[in-house]
Chain length 238, copies 2
DNA sequence: ACTCCAATGCGAACAACGTTCGCGTAATAA
DNA sequence: TTATTACGCGAACGTTGTTCGCATTGGAGT
């Protein structure tokens, strides 16, 4: 309830519906603001200077208007962020399906991950937002369709999809938040007191540093191994 | 850099070291504040009323002091949260190892996940914090030790551990942030326009709702399958 | 063409927040 | 006792998100 208060209704399915309706009955003043402009400018600020740099006054300045004007197009700062999240999800470009389901799943997961990681400051918002915007749902539709086409049983498709997406989101959020000052993990652990943490320091010294990208690729690989042994597939018709 | 500014030095290894030293040279006034008290009260507020309810003034009120007094024990609001995160990680209780490595890994992952999910409002902070506090590192030490004892190759241990922990954290963050108004996912998807999203709605209608706990258990199971096929283990001595 | 009216822009103000300043006080070390 | 240092805290500062009231715009209805 308290977190529902923090988020408000923003991002729910009904909210998106209202939003689409409102966008249609809008009266466009020449040279006036549009939600698209606002969202785009907001993303520029967030990506370049962090989430806390996105101030309503600052955003208004960038757009050449007053802060109060923004509230004619957006109810909240939070709504603004919700809109930005779906905008980012629209950047994910699944191309044509790969020949095997493993390649295809790995490819989709990596595309999602790297798109999200390209906007690291937005990731906290991605996590707290119900992903029900048009771009989010369109992506879901496309991915589920492909999984069916690859011969997975309809009952299995949704759980598998959810597992993969949750993993991609979670890893992106973790990597985007942590790895800012470079991949310093092994050095940090090696520098801890060896008498107190013998295993941690010993392993840290003999382990290669690992980019978060490689770590995610490894995770997906492990998961695809697991999916292969666990879920049967019908042969592809063609 | 901008996110480093947001976090400050708080949570780094050097910061924790300074913190321990400072705690020792402290002068304890009778009935005075302690960091432990402050952290505990902060957690009560965050768990009960959300992250945004944790105000310095509000926290001071709960402790019966003035807001400015808190800054004698804590440099920032963010430092307070970093301390709270390590406090929570101290709640994780790995018991004695389970007979098989699979059971043991699954058990550890579930303990971590459920401890984190018990403090859902703190999860955004967990993600942006380098987990280098005493409780975090002690947990790491114990888990790595166990993995070696189960016969995993020393070179493999750290990547596997990181994959599992990242997955647990990511899933916890996602579940804790989203599932607030109940597990409404299938209904929501089923209610979308069927002509625009045929696959999404069709699958939503024939799929059971799934708790985030079950989803995480499934994810771990899939991952353990993958680890089993991918990483060799030496036989256990005993 | 004229009138209406809802949609839009925005300066000014408000409440709440994190944080700092400066002073008074209490406890420890010499 | 005395000097020093840590602590407590009322008051204030600068920013923040958001609201209010009013002026302005431009399309719909006649």
């Amino acid at each position: 309830m308290s977190s529902a208060t923090e988020i408000g209704r923003a991002g729910s399915a009904a909210w998106w519906q209202d939003r689409r309706a409102a966008r249609h009955r809008r009266r466009h003043r020449q040279g006036g603001l549009t939600i698209e402009q606002i969202t785009r400018s907001a993303l520029v600020i967030v990506d370049g200077e962090g989430l806390s740099a996105l101030t309503m006054r600052r955003l208004a300045d960038d757009l050449g208007t007053g802060a109060a004007s923004l509230y004619r197009h957006v109810a909240n700062r939070e709504e603004l962020l919700v809109e930005a999240v779906d905008h980012v999800l629209g950047e994910v470009e699944f191309g044509t399906p790969k020949p095997t389901w493993r390649e295809d799943f790995a490819n989709q997961a990596n595309l999602l991950w790297s798109t999200l990681i390209a906007h690291p400051h937005l990731l906290p918002v991605v996590l707290r937002t119900p992903l029900l915007g048009p771009n989010a749902v369109a992506g879901r539709e496309a991915s589920l369709r492909r999984m069916l086409d690859f011969g997975f049983h309809p009952v299995d498709v949704q759980p598998i999809y959810t597992v993969i997406v949750t993993t991609a989101l979670g890893h992106a959020a973790f990597a985007g938040a942590i790895e800012r000052p470079g991949p310093l993990r092994p050095e940090v652990y090696a520098a801890l007191p060896a008498d107190e943490y013998p295993t941690v320091t010993a392993l840290a010294e003999r382990t290669e540093p690992q980019t978060s990208s490689a770590l995610f690729a490894l995770t997906i690989d492990i998961m695809l191994d697991g999916i292969e042994t666990r879920y049967p597939r019908k042969e592809r018709p063609c």
